[in-house]
Symmetry: C2
Subunit: 339 residues, 2 copies
DNA sequence: TTGTAAGCGTTATCAC
DNA sequence: GTGATAACGCTTACAA
């Protein structure tokens, strides 16, 4: 411990604290002589400015809060990597908090971050969240907030996400192009807009290709409860497979891999018996059995872009009216949709 | 912004700031009456204590720094999840910094964390790191440091990791029990002790089963340079396969999956042509082609335990002489080592 | 039981 | 150019 302070320097050099402070921040109104002297001494004695004191004084912490569902999720981790990179570039620090898909925890995270004095918050809301007043309240006080990945029209803010409708549309269309007529849709139950958007993309693709929509080829599966998630997915898969679909389109990373596991375990051959295609950012998709066709999201870019926007906001830049940036997903065709 | 402060409360209630402060920290020396009054007002006006001010005053931030190679790595993410959980339980916050396997960046991380006033640091050193003086210097000042996952005998501190020797030994023994005589060893080149420990475990298992050690069945592959990593692994795999091994034992997550990819791409059938077994914490291991046998590490537990120890240290508890805790890995047998 | 006042390390506002 | 001095919001002796 025992860091040296401005006062230590000022005493040692027999100049005032304020001069030292100004010299270190490279103020114009300081003589070159003293500036060099101070800088040299500071470096020699390994002076590290105390961020706490500075933050207390200027009211900014140069840190931003990031709320995500869980760090233990490769897609999220990729976004965090992008966020971290953007922040490092601008000298900002991030404080990461996990909501674990709980609305209550999400609120707690926001409060904690706020108490920590973060200059802004970027958040990817939990599955449970449908009431956004905790964010709106902050916003009304002029607190900078950016939504990423899981965005909502409930709140007026800068947002970054992917074009979920198009991603789902393209995926469905690909399955149709493979000759599939009966395409099952396995989605997760949530309050998120992306859930419904992916569903809409699926339906639109069917409609555009004169395929009739069958309600019993669609399941919305509860995936929030860690205890029951496996059972829920199994039930959904069983019910879908009873309808003998030609293909299954899954809308989340978890559903996609769990669906594959189910098919493998129950003796379905992919793609011979049924094609499988889903949203997933798993690095290992090409190595799965069979290599899995996926809708991939530009995770790192989402994080980077959102962080850049938030940092602009935090710095007081006027970005004009709030805007939503939608990045494109990319379709990766592999063996699971080969015919 | 515009949070209310202790002064605001004190003015509103016509009592002194210190009384308010004490009331909020539930000091014994405050009347029940005023305590209730203050608490009620604080809650009603949503008082949030300013951490910066508190930290500045007491010299502790209730935050700890975590240095890892990269957040974008499922094993690391799992450990972080464990760390976060332990910290949340004790009201501590974490600041995560990535070294990206660079020694220079690692030092920069440590400096930044220190400047941020974290109360302690837990670190999993980079592949490049062989000089630990940046950590020793902090330690000498009495700064709490815990090493996890990638530990070294170069530094005297509390450490948490897995028994790498045993993990590698068990893995090799399993391959031997499957009838393999020529077992290739694909390791990564690093300054880390775990690298050599896993190698030693492999050699010991061979020796204990009267199998002769062949140098040309062993490759240490440079995996730090992201540009060249694929080429390096391919070269190593090609060279190993020229020796027609019965099995390949890989010692890191990356090597394991890349090895599988190589085998699949080059027409080797696993396990018919060659068995594959490696260290990996990938959730998707059972879904790979073929389902991959793995040596799994208790990632979450490593994180949790290391965090708990650091928090004790930070709180000033005397944990006695520094100790190293080694958790056991677990062997998950799947199709890639089936005969 | 409550109040007063000093101080944590910075930065900002005045003077000189 | 440089130096006092106050202030950021909080905790904590020391008084009362």
């Amino acid at each position: 411990m025992s860091n040296i302070t401005l006062r230590d320097i000022s005493k040692a050099l027999n100049i005032s604290v304020s001069t030292v402070s100004r010299a270190l921040t490279d103020s114009h109104e300081i003589g070159e002589e003293t500036k060099k002297l101070v800088l040299a001494y500071a470096k020699a004695h390994n002076y590290i400015p105390n961020r706490m004191a500075r933050s207390l004084k200027v009211g900014k912490t140069k840190s931003i809060g990031v709320v995500i569902c869980s760090i233990d999720n490769s897609f999220v981790a990729q976004m965090l990597d992008g966020i971290d990179q953007a922040c490092k570039d601008h000298g900002y620090q991030i404080i990461i908090m996990q909501s674990k898909e709980s609305y209550e925890q999400e609120k707690a995270c926001i409060n904690l971050l706020y108490a920590n004095g973060v200059d802004g918050i970027m958040i990817s809301p939990s599955y449970q969240t449908s009431d956004f007043s905790h964010l709106k309240e902050l916003q009304e006080q002029g607190f900078p907030i950016v939504l990423f990945d899981r965005i909502t029209s409930e709140i007026d803010a800068h947002k970054v996400a992917v074009n979920n409708f198009k991603g789902a549309y393209d995926a469905t269309q690909h399955l149709i192009s493979r000759g599939c007529k009966k395409i099952a849709h396995l989605n997760s139950k949530s309050n998120l807009a992306l859930t419904i958007e992916r569903f809409e993309g699926y339906k639109q693709a069917l409609a555009d290709h004169q395929l009739t929509y069958h309600e019993d080829l669609v399941k919305f599966c509860n995936t929030t409860d860690a205890e029951k998630v496996d059972a829920n997915i199994e039930t959904a898969m069983r019910q879908l497979l009873e309808k003998q679909p030609h293909a299954i389109f899954t809308t989340t990373d978890l559903l996609t891999t769990k669906a594959l596991a189910y098919l493998n375990e129950h003796g379905y051959r992919v793609p011979e018996d049924v094609l499988l295609l889903g949203f997933s950012n798993a690095d290992l998709a090409p190595l799965l059995n069979p290599a899995l066709s996926t809708v991939q999201q530009p995770s790192k870019e989402i994080g980077q872009l959102a962080a850049q926007i938030l940092i602009q906001l935090v710095k007081g830049k006027d970005l004009g009216p709030t805007a939503t940036t939608l990045l494109d997903t990319s379709l990766h065709i592999r063996r699971s949709t080969q015919r």
